[in-house]
Symmetry: C2
């Protein structure tokens, strides 16, 4: 059970750079990136931190966190400290689970530090106002790592129990098929006036915030790269904000 404590000198940092803008990247994340000679990550994420990586060995890997994990281990075994960058928070549908599970499977012995980042849901909620103001359920529709039956069971349970529901990766390799199935489940459990907040292309200059209702959603052309927040029975829109209050009755303070 010592599989994850290092006997190498090298260390691997799993670093969350947040939604993309430098103003939302923590000093801890920045310090790890500045420190490590080798930086691995999605090409888009490496571009976002280009101002911090001059003279470093940059290893952009498009698609596969498992590949990033293997490469990071290889570099660390050669004695180099490595950063694997993740957009948002590395612990939320990102590198941390893949990497640590890989180390365990390989029974590898490397020192690891997970550096948290501003997660996409926190960022979207803030941009929307207070969309996540009460209990929330976070679900990825990507079924490459979780059986679809488990995902739909979670979605239905969360909807029935009046959680605010955050949906990650609505459009997967199957296109919009999973999302359309999910939308049917949502329509079964929630009122057509339920507020929906959608953040797309969070990391780019094309970032868009969309506010609509469950009834309007099917009429909207959705971007492929998005995070969807489905309000609970108490959520409402006010001006340019989506708010999920914590008070279920008027005049209840904290």
């Amino acid at each position: 059970m010592l599989c994850l404590r290092g006997n190498l000198n090298a260390k691997i940092f799993l670093v969350g750079i947040g939604p993309g803008q430098a103003e939302h990247m923590t000093p801890c994340a920045k310090a790890a990136i500045v420190h490590a000679p080798v930086i691995i990550g999605h090409p888009d994420n490496l571009l976002q931190i280009a101002h911090l990586t001059h003279g470093k060995e940059l290893l952009p890997l498009q698609h596969n966190p498992l590949e990033r994990s293997r490469l990071a281990v290889e570099k660390a075994q050669n004695g180099q400290d490595v950063v694997i960058v993740s957009s948002g928070d590395p612990g939320t549908y990102a590198i941390a689970a893949t990497f640590l599970d890989y180390l365990r499977q390989q029974n590898l012995n490397i020192d690891v530090e997970v550096v948290p980042g501003i997660g996409l849901a926190s960022y979207a909620s803030a941009r929307l106002g207070a969309a996540l103001g009460n209990d929330s359920a976070h679900i990825s529709l990507s079924d490459q790592n979780t059986p679809w039956a488990a995902i739909t069971r979670r979605l239905s349970s969360a909807l029935a129990a009046d959680f605010v529901v955050v949906i990650y990766n609505p459009f997967g390799k199957l296109g919009s098929a999973r999302w359309e199935e999910a939308l049917a489940l949502i329509a079964k459990e929630r009122n057509i006036n339920t507020p929906i907040g959608i953040l797309s292309q969070a990391n780019t200059s094309n970032e868009k915030l969309l506010m609509t209702t469950l009834g309007q959603l099917p009429q909207i052309a959705l971007p492929t790269d998005m995070l969807i927040i489905i309000g609970n029975s108490q959520s409402y829109f006010c001006g340019s904000y989506m708010i999920t209050p914590r008070c279920y009755k008027e005049n209840i303070g904290y």
Copy 2:
């Protein structure tokens, strides 16, 4: 519906300072604090940012986010920019929902910016390794703002649907009574070997990380100020890490 767009010159920032250490506070949060002449927050949070607030008007308010909201509005109406600081993320059981809902109830017209912070759950998950590696449900046991029946329904649904469950505020004004009720529900739905990660006093030098199992939990003297992460059916401990993998079968990549 223009209730939340400002016609005052003054602006109110709802700022998340993260788990407490400066290394986890974003530049955006720091900039807002440095900018505003008036800073409102819990005394502990004001202490954590004392290095940023020299010469500012500091208004520590122990308990009540509604009081903080009223005071911030009063200051803004006098033309001063205000920061209300929150530990963690202001959108997660913190000031954002309370404040924006208060503005709506009062039909007040003030410019607001929510600045996200590293949430306690992201931080705890990172300290544990990858505790939140798959779908998660976030539930506060504080029933001052949500009926207890709604909370227990959410908890039971989330447990039955195999979410990783994050429990906030397990000990409330009622002491451990709610937590003991919740623990009985957890024991009904989850195996005694279920990994449990507990982070306590995250903001302080007394920060403690505790790893145990559901079976052992009742034997442990729990701190009052804690966040509890209950693993799903796939979660495991390896060395000093708590990991929730995204692979439900061996050898499935992303």
